[in-house]
Each structure stands twice: as C-alpha cells, then as structure tokens.
C-alpha cells in the first residue's frame, strides 16, 4: 500500500521510499524505513493531506505520498481495510453523533468484531456498515 491510500486516522510504518525528485527532502524530514506516520487529516478537497512524522505536521499531495510504500500498524487498522479475522475496536474517528450511532449498533471501544468474507459480525449478529463508516472505525487484532 502507498501512503496516499492509508485512511485518515490510521498509523502506518514506512517500508520503502522510491526514487523521486523529492526523495532527499522526505528522508530529511524523517520519512525513513520503519518510521511511523500518522495520517492526521485531509484538506477540504481531500488532497493534500497532513501527516504526523515524529511530532511535526507535514502536508503531502497524493502524488507525492504515492512514492512512499507503507504498511498498516496492527493497532490502527481501519475496518474498511481489515482482512478476515478477530478484532477489538480501539477508537472511533467520528464525533459525538457518530459514536452515538455506533452505540445504537451495540458498538463501543473495546467491542469485539469478526470479519468473515468481508462481512462484519458482532456477537454473531451481522452488522451492515457503509464504507464511509468502516473507515472511521479503528481496530486491533484480538
């Protein structure tokens, strides 16, 4: 996965930086193999986005972030990107209303989820969630 594909709120580990005219600047800023990057938020039009590297906020366009090969950290997997398996909800990226809505599905921080064939189960009940909502639910492997 390249950095521009990592959803907002997720944390990723850098695998590789491909050669480009901005490679040295990225390295100097601290985007080096094994460093941790947090996708902080996106601009009003979705591109560029702000990333946290060490404690600095750096904005990168999608075209630039696509030079950086990354993998999702185990504790910050968005539901939208979770492969089949058992998970625990670690955080919600939405505001008060989103949390309330999730609570109405019986979901809160610490709830266990199972992903099977791309479908989401909670206490053996299938839950229907849109792609946008799935992006806002962060999981770690149970």
């Amino acid at each position: 996965m390249t950095l521009d594909k990592a959803p907002v709120g997720s944390k990723v580990r850098v695998v590789n930086i491909s050669d480009s005219p901005i490679k040295h600047r990225l390295l100097g800023i601290g985007i080096i193999p094994n460093s941790i990057i947090e996708v902080v938020h996106s601009s009003p039009m979705g591109d560029p986005r702000v990333y946290r590297i060490f404690n600095k906020l750096i904005s990168l366009r999608h075209s630039e972030a696509s030079n950086i090969e990354v993998e999702l950290l185990d504790d910050y997997i968005p539901l939208s990107h979770a492969p089949d398996g058992e998970y625990v909800i670690t955080s919600f990226l939405g505001g008060f209303n989103f949390k309330k809505k999730m609570f109405s599905f019986g979901l809160q921080i610490g709830s266990k989820l199972t992903v099977k064939n791309g479908e989401v189960f909670h206490n053996n009940n299938k839950i229907f969630l849109g792609q946008g909502m799935k992006k806002k639910i962060l999981l770690r492997r149970a």
Binding site: N16, I17, R25, L27, G30, N34, V40, P48, K56, S63
Partner: protein, 647 residues
C-alpha cells in the same frame, strides 16, 4: 574583531526571531551571488567585537535539491563562517538534530541553540543540557526568542567559539558503511574537497552536484549508492533517537498536540476551511482599508495644508514645483502609509501565528489545478504588499515551471501600490460601498492571477506539475516585536519607493504638466500625450486626464493618484474640488472599469525590471506587458458594455 555567523535551521523553528533578537532592526537584504535567493544579513556589536549574522534559508538537509538548500549547503561548504549556529526546536527536536549531525560532519565550530525553551518548560519537558553537549561535542544554549532568554549567553558563546574555544569532534558512526566511506575518501583527490568525509557521505547519499564532481574519480555501482542513499539518513535518525532518549525526560507531548489538532480541525475543516480563509482575508482588508482610515485622512489634511502654506509665498515655477510637484505628488502617496503598514501588520500576524501554511494547505488543491502549489500561494500572497517582493520570493520555488508561472501571474495580484488609486476612486464614486467594491477587486485579481498561471503553464510548459512538501508549524502566540520588525522591513520598502521613483516621477509629471505654457494644463505636454492615446481608451469612457495618468502610472501605479490630483488640482488649486471634477468626468461604470484597468494593465517599471532580473530574459518582460494590456482592455471593455446595459 569581526565574527561572521551563519544561522542554520529547519523552516519554522523561529530562526528569523532569533535573528531579530541578535541584530534588532539593523538588517538588510541582498542577493546570493549567481542565484535568485535573497540573503538577509545584520550586524551587532557585542563587547569589543562585531557579530555579523547571515540568516541562511531554512532546510531539512544539506543534500541539495532545491535552490534554497543549495544556497545553505554551498555557503557552509565553500565559504564556512567563523561560527555556525543551529537553531533547533526544543519541542520537536528530531529533524533539527538530524540537520545538526549533517552540519557537524561539515564543520565543528557549531553552537546548538535550543529555541522555544519556555514553551517546552511549560509543557513539562525536561532537557538535559550536559547530555546534549556530551553527545554532540559542542556548546548548547537554551533560548526563547519570545522572552529574550539566552540571547546574551549565545552572543558570549559566539565570541568564545570564534576565539577558538575547542569543541570535541564527535564522529557519527555509519556501521557497515564505514569501509565504503573510507574507500571513497581515499579516492577523492586532495585538491578537490578539504572535508573528504562530508563529500564521501554526500556522494553516497546521491547529492547530484558532488556526484558530478566525483564521478570521474570514483567507481561504485549504482545499486550500492541507491541502497546507501536511504541507509545513511536512517542511521543518522537512529543516532538522533538515541540522543533524545538520553537527553529528554518529563512529560510527553500529547497536550500540545491536542490543542493544535483542535485548532487545525476548525481552520482546515472540510466545509469551514475555505470560508474561514475568505473571512480572515476579508478581516485583513477591512482592517487595512477601513479601520486605519482616520489616520490617513489626518495625514491628507496635513499635506494639503503644507501645500497651501508653500503657495502663500508667491506664484512662480519654483514654488509650483515644490507645492504641486513635490509636496502634492509625494505627499499624495505618503498618506497611504498607514494603510500599507496596517496590511503588513495583519500579514505579520498571520505569518507569526502559523496560519499562512494552513491557508496554503487549504487552497492547494485549487492552486494545483492552476498548476501552482501552496508554496507559490505564499509568494503570491506577498504580492498583495508589492509585486516586486512577490517576484523576488519566487526564488525559493525549486521548480522552474512554477517560478515562471508565478512570476508572470503575480503582477495581477493587487499590490499595495494600487491601493491609493482604489481608495481615491472608491471614496469619490463608491463611498458607501467602499469595503465591498475593494473586496470585489481583490476577488477579480485572484481569478485573473489563477487563470494566468494556468495559461502560462499550458502555453509554455505543456501542463506538467510541481511538487509540494510543506510543514505546518504549531500555532504560536505572535510577539508584537516580531510583527513590528516584519511590518517595518516590508513597509519601509514602500517609503523608499516613495522617496526615489515616485519623487522622480512626480517631478517629471509636474514638468510635463507645467510646461510649455506655465501651468495651463490644457496646453501642456502632458495633455498632448494624453490626448494622443485618448482615442484608444475612449471606448472605456476614459478622458485624456485619465489616459495621461495611466501613462504616468507605468512608472509606479501610485503615481496615478499624484498625477490625477495634479492634472485636476491645477485647475482649481485644491484637492476637494479636484475630487469633485473627477467625479463629474466619468460615469460610475467607467470608474469601476478604470479600477479594473489599473489592476490589470501593464506592471510598473520596478516589477518589469524584477521580471527581467529573475527570468534573465526580455522575452518574459514583453510577454508580460503585451498580455496584461490585452487582458486589461478586454475586461474593462466588458465591464463598460455589461454595466451600461444594467445601469
């Protein structure tokens, strides 16, 4: 003894604030030889020595890729100063320490300045000075640009280091790469580089320039360099992390992050981000144009009285030169000083708080569509002060395509020199809607600028785009001191212009309008010139006085005001009647068309000369003149056409 000091640091670590603290307002701006980056220098006397400080462009690395990085690197590499001062951010030190390691590989006469120490203390972060001194082998000083803490200590240290206080040379080990580095060092001829280890490291990192210099002497497979170019920074960062682990203790940084994130959440919000940007810009202009207006009015009153006072001494050509030429001409422009300083005061606040990069971030997508980037957005923003400073700041842009695009688009940014014209015309024609009319002009200006950037890129560069990697610094409460220095540095340029170009232009305008018939304006040289071009501008509803003033405005746009007030003032000998006459000579629609024409028509001499000096080619100058005149004529004509249908 004169001690030269180079200030080095990442962008946004408060380098400029430390510079201001060191030298005060005694600073001047020149050019780096051969390239197009401005060189900011200043000097101060400390005990018996003169400390000469050079503020180097901010950078993350000494591997040169952009012009800014190259200037800093080349200065330190080829003409090392007596003392190099690295300004680090106490709260987020990682990137600063990375640059410091690179710097120590280059020079050993370095002082580490841990800036923003007051903020770090407030957050409960503890930094062990002695650990830092031990690991880097150099003197360390804690400073706060805000309170002035540590500045005297820094000056003392600068003197001590320049006098030869020895620092311990620390070698940062690159593990498995050391053999390779040694081998390259051996292959470098003695006469090429004195610091071979630095050159060897830069060679391995893939620095283009060093690689070109050494490629004939060294034969190493590309795949090894490819690997090392990532490995070297990675090892450097592991040194950084170890040092931070040893030197830092106390609270983590979560608190500050939350506050920052909350402010960012609002200011760069998906829906509110752009409206907030527009609102902030609107407030800046409201402040500049409406709130400080009484001050301008008072100055205006003083200057009119001075002119009347001089005329009371008699009626000859010398008195007329003084009263109508010098005092009215220069004075008519000087009354706008409060507005211009207010504008830079407001921009200074935006810059100091850290909002400007957010503004760039929020609009980047739009700018990107116009083939510009956030960085050029900031350059263009400077154009609201003066197009010359805007064109000069494009030097920081690493990409040639973007530089040309920005340079040719920036004359359409409505500079402060046009402001006097807008203010005069709006106060005559649109007094009730002053703020709104001005706002519409600025919107107009932004649209045409964006279009021009896009058009230039499409026309000359086939639409290729430009990279952007930008830091969003944490929000800071601005200090009055820094804002005032910022305001003075930018604003005093305007006074300088008023004193030189405008002074000369006022005398020429006076000469052309006084002779050959001793003040009879209708038969003056100026009138003949104006009447000559009047037919071209007739369809826009401009008379020969307006045409003449536009002609003179080419020397500097604010001259339009002085020439108009002279062209009309000559007939009646007082400013308020001149205003009345102007309002009778044009319709409201034509007045608005005139405002748009002044905004768009060809750039002033100073701007044209900086286009020439920045691009190095007359081709772009001619393009700019012809293109802008065509654009100005078309839009003004459209306004007259459409306006006459509606009103």
């Amino acid at each position: 003894m004169v001690i030269t000091v180079g200030l080095v640091g990442n962008p946004n670590v408060g380098k400029t604030s430390i510079f201001n603290r060191l030298v005060g307002a005694r600073q001047y701006v020149a050019n780096w030889p051969g390239v197009t980056v401005s060189k900011i220098e200043g000097a101060t006397t400390w005990l018996n020595d003169t400390i000469h400080v050079i503020d180097l462009p901010g950078t993350y690395s000494l591997t040169s890729q952009s012009t800014d990085e190259k200037v800093t690197r080349d200065f330190l590499f080829y003409t090392p100063p007596n003392v190099t001062v690295l300004i680090a951010d106490s709260i987020n030190p990682e990137q600063s320490f990375y640059l410091l390691i690179e710097l120590l590989e280059l020079n050993s006469n370095v002082i580490l300045v841990m800036n923003s120490i007051d903020e770090a203390r407030k957050l409960g972060i503890k930094i062990n000075k002695f650990e830092l001194q031990k690991h880097f082998g150099i003197p360390v000083v804690f400073t706060s640009a805000k309170t002035g803490e540590g500045i005297e200590e820094l000056k003392n240290l600068i003197v001590e280091v320049a006098r030869g206080k020895h620092s311990k040379k620390v070698i940062f080990n690159y593990g498995n790469l050391e053999n390779l580095i040694l081998q390259i060092e051996k292959d470098i001829p003695d006469n090429l580089f004195s610091n071979k280890r630095f050159a060897a490291l830069k060679f391995l990192e893939g620095d283009k320039e060093i690689k070109d210099d050494l490629s004939s002497h060294i034969n190493i497979e590309n795949s090894i360099i490819e690997n090392a170019s990532t490995l070297i920074p990675t090892i450097r960062y592991s040194h950084v992390e170890n040092i931070i682990k040893e030197a830092y203790s106390g609270k983590s940084l979560n608190y500050q992050r939350t506050i920052n994130d909350r402010i960012d959440h609002v200011l760069t919000h998906k829906y509110f981000g752009i409206p907030i940007l527009l609102l902030i810009m609107y407030l800046v202009f409201k402040f500049t144009f409406d709130i400080v207006q009484p001050l301008s009015d008072y100055l205006n009153f003083l200057i009119s009285n001075l002119s009347i006072f001089i005329k009371s001494f008699g009626d000859n050509s010398f008195i007329s030169l003084l009263a109508d030429g010098v005092v009215s001409g220069v004075g008519g422009v000087l009354v706008f000083i409060p507005n211009i300083f207010a504008l830079f005061f407001a921009l200074g606040i935006l810059e100091e708080t850290g909002y400007l990069p957010r503004a760039a971030f929020v609009v980047d997508r739009i700018m990107y569509k116009m083939k510009l980037s956030g960085r050029s957005f900031m350059s263009l923003l400077l154009g609201f002060g003066c197009n010359v400073s805007s064109i000069m700041s494009t030097r920081g842009l690493p990409d040639e395509k973007e530089r040309i695009g920005t340079i040719l688009a920036s004359p359409f940014i409505s500079c402060s020199a046009r402001l006097p014209v807008y203010l005069m015309i709006t106060s005559i024609f649109f007094n009730k809607y002053k703020g709104e009319v001005l706002f519409s002009i600025y919107i107009f200006s932004i649209v045409i600028t964006a279009f021009t950037a896009y058009f230039v890129n499409k026309l000359f560069f086939k639409g290729e785009d430009v990279p952007l990697v930008m830091e969003l610094p944490r929000y800071r409460i601005p200090t009055l001191r820094n804002i005032l220095i910022y305001m003075w540095n930018k604003g005093s340029h305007f006074i300088e212009k008023a004193g030189t170009i405008i002074f000369a232009a006022s005398i020429v305008v006076w000469f052309l309008s006084y002779f050959p018939s001793n003040g009879q304006i209708e038969t003056s040289f100026a009138a003949y010139l104006g009447k000559l071009i009047e037919p071209i501008l007739k369809p826009l509803g401009f008379n020969w006085q307006i045409a003449t003033s536009l002609l003179f405005g080419a020397s500097a746009k604010e001259v339009i005001v002085s020439s108009l007030s002279m062209l009309y003032g000559f007939a009646e000998n007082d400013l308020s009647t001149a205003k009345l006459l102007i309002s009778q000579s044009m319709s409201g629609v034509s007045a608005y068309a005139f405002l748009i024409f002044v905004l768009l028509y060809f750039p002033c001499f100073a701007t044209l000369s900086s286009i020439k000096s920045e691009t190095g080619s007359w081709k772009w100058v001619f393009f700019s003149v012809i293109y802008s005149f065509i654009v100005a004529y078309i839009f003004s004509y459209l306004i007259v056409l459409i306006g006459n249908i509606i009103f």
